[in-house]
Amino acid sequence: MIGLLDTLLVLALLTTVGLYVFGANRFAGYIGMAAYAAMTVIVVLVGQTLSGGETAVPSAMAFTVLGYPMTWRIDGLGWFFALLTTGAGFFAAWYMSGEWNEAQPNKRIQHGTLALNVLAMLLLVSSGDFLSLFIGWEIVSWAAFAMMTQLGGPAATAALRYLLYALAGAMALFAGILIVRSATGSFAFEDFAAAVPNLPTATKWVLFVLFTAGFGVKMAIVPFHLWQAPAYSFTPGASSSFLNAVSARMGLFALTLVLIKLMGPALLAGMDIAYTWFDARSALLWLTAITMIVPTYIALMQTDARMLLAWHGIGQGGYMLLGILVGTPLGLAGGLLHTFNYATYQMALMLAVFAVVHRTKTADLDELGGLITRMPFTYITLLMGIIGLAGLPPMNGFVSKWMIYKSLLNTAQPLLLIAAFIGTLGTILSVYKLIHNIFLGQLRLEHREVKEAPLSMLLPMLTLAGIGFVTGWMPGLALSMVDIAQSALGIGLQPHHLGGVDLPNGSLNMLWVVGVLIAAIGVGALIFYFLGNRRWEVSQYDNYAGGHFLSADVRYHFSHEFYPGLARVIGPWYRGWVVKMERGLQTLVAVLGDLSGGVFRFAHTPFYLLVAVSLGLLWVGLFGKI
C-alpha cells in the first residue's frame, strides 16, 4: 500500500531524476519550487497524522538482505527534520529560480544535487532501523559531497577533505551498528533500546564513543570540525545556504535519535568516568561547550563572509546539542527549537551574503563596505539575521537560546551557562564585524553602481527573515512543531503557549517582549525624530576625518584586523592542536604509504620469502603445540 511517506519519497526521487534531466532548463528553479512545496505539503499532512496520535507513519518499502530486514518509517523526530529539509529545499529553489539561475554555468548539477540531497535526507530521517539509518547516512554524506565538489578548484579540495572526515565518521558508525547487532542480535531500534541498559559498561562506552564520533563529524563537533567551514563556503550560493541550514543538522538528528531516544540521558549520566566527576553525558556536554566557543571565535577572525557564517554554523550546532543533552523537556524543546530557528536565520544570512557576492563578485570582508545604500533590503535581511544569530529579541534565536539557558539554570549547571554566554559574546562581536564590513562605512568606488539583488533572490531572503521574526514574536507556532518531535523522544513535552513558555521560576512571553520592544523603539524614534533630530543627508563620500576632507579614493574603511586586541588574546587558540593533529595524521599515512610502497619496489623479492618463512617457522616453534 502506498502511504504518505512513500508518496513523499517517490516525489523526491522523481524530482531528483527530473531536475537532473531538465536541470539546464531556465524554468528548472520553478519546477524545483513546485516539487519542494508539494513535498512540504505532504510533510505537513504527515505531521497532522502524527499529532493525531500515530507514533509513526510507515513506508511500504522494505527489504530483507542476508536475513537483515530494512524498514522505513517516519516518527515525530524524523518529521521535524523532514520539514526543515523540504522547507530549506523550497527556499533554495526559490532563490535559484530567477536571475541566479541565468548566471550559473552548471544549472543541471546545482538543481540535481539539491534534489538529491533532499531525497537523501528524507531517506535518512525516515529510517526504521540501524541498517537503513546507515544506508541513509552514507547517501546523505555522498550527496553532500556531490554538491560541494561541483565547482572544482578549492571547492573540490575542501570537498575531498570533507569526504575523508565523513567517511571516517561513517566507518565509526558502521562499527557501531555492527557492535549493536552483535550485542542484540538485530539492527532494530527497539531491540537496542530494550537491551542497552543491560549491556556491559565497556560495550556501552564503545557504542557511545563510536556513535558520538560518527554523527559528530557531520555535526562538526570539535575536534571533528575542521572540514566544515571551507567545504560549505566554497559551494555555490543556494546550495551552500541549504548545506548550512540543514545538512549538518542530520548529525543532530542522528545523535538525538541514538543518545536521547534509544539510550536516554539517564543512561548516559550513569556512565561514570573513573577518578573524575565526569560521566558520559557531562563529558559530551563539555565537548559541546568547547564547540560553542572555539569555532565562534575562529569565525571572529575570518575575513570571508561565507567562512565567517559557516564557522558560526559549527558553534550554533553546539547550542542545539547542548540543549538536547540537558535532557529535560525544556532543554530538549530549546535545542530543537534552536534547530528550527537557526535554519531560518542562517539560511537568510547565507542568501543575503550570496546576494552581495552575486552583485559584487566578492565575499572578502576587506573588499566591501557601505553597501547599505545600494542594497537596503539585503541589509535588512542581514540585520534581522544577525539579531537572530546573536540571540537577541525580537528574533527567534533569542527564544531558543533563552530556553537553553533556562534549562541549564534549572538543572544547576552554571558553568556551562557561562560557557554559553562566552560563545554568545563572540557571536555578537563577530556579527557586528559582518554587518559593518559589508554594509556600513565607506562605499567602495567600484561598488558605486551596484544594484539591489533581484526580486527572485530578495523574496526568499525576506520571507525567511520574516519567518524568523514571526516565530520570535509568536514562538508557540514553532513550539507546537517541536512538540511533535518531542513526543517521539519519550522525555515528555514542554508546555507552552503562543507567546512562549510558563515556568515556575520565570516565564517568557514574547508577545509582551516584542510589544515592549516595539513600544520602546517607538519612544526612541519619537525622541530621535522630534526632539533631537540634527541629521541631514549627505553623500556617502562627503566625509571628514580629523578635520580633513577625505576623497572617495582614499581608503579609510577600517576592516583589516577588526579586533586586534582580541586576536592577540585568542591567537593561540586559532591555530590549535586540531590542525596539527590533522597534519600529523596525513604525514603518518604518507610515511606508512612510502614504507609499504618501498617494500614492493625492493629488487630481491625472494629475500622477503626467506624472512617470512624463517619468522613464520620461529613463530610455529614458539607457539605451536609440540
Binding site: 527489504f63 530483507t64 538482505v65 542476508l66 536475513g67 546507515f134 544506508i135 552514507e138 547517501i139 555522498w142 565538489t149 572544482g152 578548484g153 573540490a156 579540495t157 570537498a159 575531498l160 569526504l163 575523508l164 567517511l167 571516517a168 566507518m171 565509526a172 558502521f174 562499527a175 555492527l178 557492535i179 547487532r181 552483535s182 599515512v589 604518507a590 606508512l592 604509504g593 612510502d594 614504507l595 609499504s596 610502497g597 617494500v599 614492493f600 625492493f602 623479492t605 625472494p606 622477503y608 620469502l609 624472512v611 617470512a612 618463512v613 613464520g616 617457522l617 613463530w619 610455529v620 616453534g621 607457539f623 605451536g624 603445540k625 609440540i626
Partner: protein, 484 residues
C-alpha cells in the same frame, strides 16, 4: 555418486582438450582457433551453471579412474567450486586475449588457465591441487609477459622466481602433511588431522602452504610481484589475474582451513598475514603514482580482506570471503580496463571527465562500490565481513577496526583520482575511450548494478554455497562414505 558426478571432470578436461587441439586448429586459420577457444569457455560457463544447479547441499563427488578415495584422486564439486568454475570462465570470456598479444598461443594459455583453475577448485586431493596450481601459475607467467612491453619480461621473471620458490614451499608443506598423515586426500587428511596434524608439524605445513599459495593469492610478503606485473602485462591478462585467478588460490586456502587446519594458532597466523596485507596494500596504493599500480596495490588489500574473512569462524567467514572475492572479481577488472587507457602519472588525468564521461562515471561507481557505500554490492560484502568479525569479537574486532581505517585510506586515494579527473585539463588531455575499449568495463558495471538490484536473492544463494562449503563433516562423509 550423484548424477552430475561424471560431468565434474568436463570443465577441466574439455578446455584442456581444446588447448591441445588449438595449435592444430590454428592451421586452418587463427579465427577458427579463437572461435573454438571462446566456445569452450562458454561451455565451461554452462558446465559451471549445470553443476551449481545439480548440487544443492549435497556435493557431487567422482573418484577418477574408478580408484576409490583415498587411494585415487577425487573431484569434489560443491556450489563453491561450481561458482568459481563459472566465474573463471566468465572472466576469460570477457577478457579473451586480443590477437595482437600472442595470438593462438595466448588463446591456448588462456584455455589452460581455465582448465587449471577449474581443476584447482574442483580437486579434492592436496597434490593434485598443487599440480593444477602449477598449471595456472605457468600459464600466468607466460601471459604476464605476452604484452611485448619491455617491462613485461622483467616483471614476469620476477613473478616466476617468486612463484617457483613458493611452489617449492608448497611441496615441502605437502611433504610434511604426507609424512605426518600418510595420505593426500583432503577428506582423509581432515579425518586424521586432529590426531596427526595438530602439532608443530601441522602448523609448519600450514605456514608453508599459505606462503606458497599466497604468492598467487597476493598475500604479504610474497606478493611483491603484483604491482610490476599488473603494470606491465596486457590489460586483459591483468584483469583475469587480479580478478579471478588470485581468488582461486584463496579457495584452496579456504579448503585447507575448513578441512584441515582449524587450530587457533593457524587461524591467528593467517589473520596476522591478512592484516599486514591489507595495511601494506592500502597504504602503498595511497602513494602509488599511476592508476595501474594503484589498482594493483588495492587488489592486494582486497585479497587481504578475503584472507581475513577466511579466518572468521563458521559460515559467516566463508560467506564474507566469497562475497568480497566475487565483488572484487567484478570491480577490479573494470578498473584495469580504465587504467589501460589512462596510463602515466596521475596528474595527467586532469580533464578526463570531459574527454571520457562514461569512463569517469564508471570510475566513480566502481570506487563507491569498492569502498563499500550502500546500497552497492561492495557494501553488503563488507557488512558480512565486518559483521562476522564483530560477532567473533576479540582480535577480530581489532582486525575490523584496521579494515575500517584502511577504508578511509582507500577512499582517499580513489577520490583523489576522481577529483583529478574532474579538474580542467592542464596540459595534454587524457586518452579517449572508444566504445570497444570500454565495453568490458561497462558490462561489468551493468553486472554491478544488476547485482545491486538483486542483492537479496544473490545473498541467499551465496549463503547456501557458504554453508555447504563450511561443512567439513559432510565433505568427509561424501568423499569417504565407508571410513567415517
Amino acid at each position: 555418486m550423484t548424477s552430475g558426478a561424471n560431468t565434474l571432470v568436463l570443465p577441466i578436461v574439455l578446455p584442456l582438450l581444446g588447448a591441445f587441439l588449438l595449435p592444430l586448429v590454428a592451421r586452418f586459420g587463427d579465427g577458427l582457433a579463437r572461435a573454438l577457444g571462446i566456445v569452450l569457455v562458454v561451455v565451461n560457463i554452462f558446465l559451471g551453471w549445470t553443476l551449481w544447479s545439480a548440487v544443492g547441499t549435497e556435493a557431487a563427488v567422482t573418484a577418477l579412474g574408478g580408484f576409490e578415495a583415498p587411494l585415487g584422486i577425487v573431484l569434489y564439486g560443491d556450489r563453491l567450486a561450481a561458482l568459481f568454475v563459472a566465474v573463471l570462465a566468465v572472466g576469460a570470456l570477457i577478457f579473451w586475449p586480443r590477437a595482437e598479444h600472442g595470438g593462438v598461443k595466448a588463446y591456448t594459455l588462456t584455455l589452460l588457465l581455465v582448465a587449471g583453475g577449474s581443476g584447482l577448485v574442483l580437486s579434492g586431493d592436496l597434490f593434485n591441487i598443487f599440480v593444477f596450481y602449477e598449471i595456472v601459475a605457468v600459464a600466468s607467467y607466460g601471459l604476464a609477459a605476452s604484452s611485448g612491453d619491455k617491462a613485461g619480461f622483467g616483471a614476469a621473471l620476477r613473478y616466476l622466481v617468486l612463484g617457483a620458490l613458493g611452489s617449492s614451499l608448497v611441496l615441502i608443506g605437502i611433504g610434511l602433511v604426507y609424512a605426518a598423515a600418510g595420505t593426500l586426500n583432503l577428506a582423509d587428511i581432515a579425518r586424521l588431522a586432529p590426531e596427526k596434524l595438530s602439532g608443530t608439524t601441522g602448523l609448519a605445513a600450514f605456514l608453508l602452504l599459505v606462503l606458497g599459495f599466497g604468492v598467487k593469492a597476493e598475500l604479504f610478503p610474497v606478493n611483491t610481484w603484483v604491482p610490476e606485473v599488473y603494470a606491465a602485462a596486457p590489460m586483459r591478462v591483468t584483469a583475469i589475474l587480479a580478478g579471478v585467478v588470485s581468488k582461486l588460490a584463496m579457495v584452496v586456502i579456504l579448503r585447507l582451513l575448513v578441512l584441515v587446519f582449524h587450530d587457533p594458532a593457524a587461524i591467528s597466523l593467517l589473520m596476522a598475514v591478512a592484516i599486514v596485507t591489507i595495511v601494506a596494500g592500502e597504504f602503498a596504493a595511497y602513494r602509488a603514482s599511476d592508476l595501474n599500480r594503484t589498482f594493483a596495490y588495492s587488489s592486494i588489500a582486497q585479497l587481504g580482506l578475503v584472507a581475513l574473512a577466511l579466518t572468521i569462524p563458521a559460515t559467516a567467514g566463508i560467506l564474507a570471503a566469497i562475497a568480497v572475492a566475487l565483488h572484487h572479481a567484478v570491480v577490479k577488472p573494470a578498473f584495469f580496463v580504465i587504467a589501460a587507457k589512462w596510463r602515466g602519472p596521475l596528474a595527467g588525468l586532469a580533464g578526463g571527465a570531459r574527454v571520457a564521461p562514461a569512463a569517469a562515471g564508471l570510475f566513480v561507481l566502481l570506487a563507491l562500490s569498492i569502498i563499500g557505500i550502500p546500497p552497492l554490492p561492495g557494501f553488503w560484502a563488507k557488512l558480512v565481513l565486518l559483521g562476522g568479525a564483530f560477532d567473533a569479537g576479540g582480535a577480530y574486532a581489532f582486525a575490523a577496526a584496521v579494515v575500517l581505517a584502511a577504508t578511509v585510506v582507500e577512499a582517499a586515494y580513489l577520490f583523489r583520482v576522481v577529483a583529478r579527473i574532474w579538474q580542467p585539463a592542464a596540459g595534454a588531455k587524457p586518452a579517449h575511450f572508444a566504445f570497444s575499449d570500454l565495453s568490458p568495463a561497462l558490462l561489468l558495471g551493468v553486472i554491478l548494478i544488476v547485482a545491486t538490484l538483486f542483492v537479496a536473492p544473490i545473498g541467499t544463494a551465496l549463503s547456501g554455497a557458504a554453508a555447504s562449503a563450511a561443512d567439513a563433516g559432510s565433505y568427509v562423509a561424501r568423499v569417504l562414505p565407508g571410513r567415517m
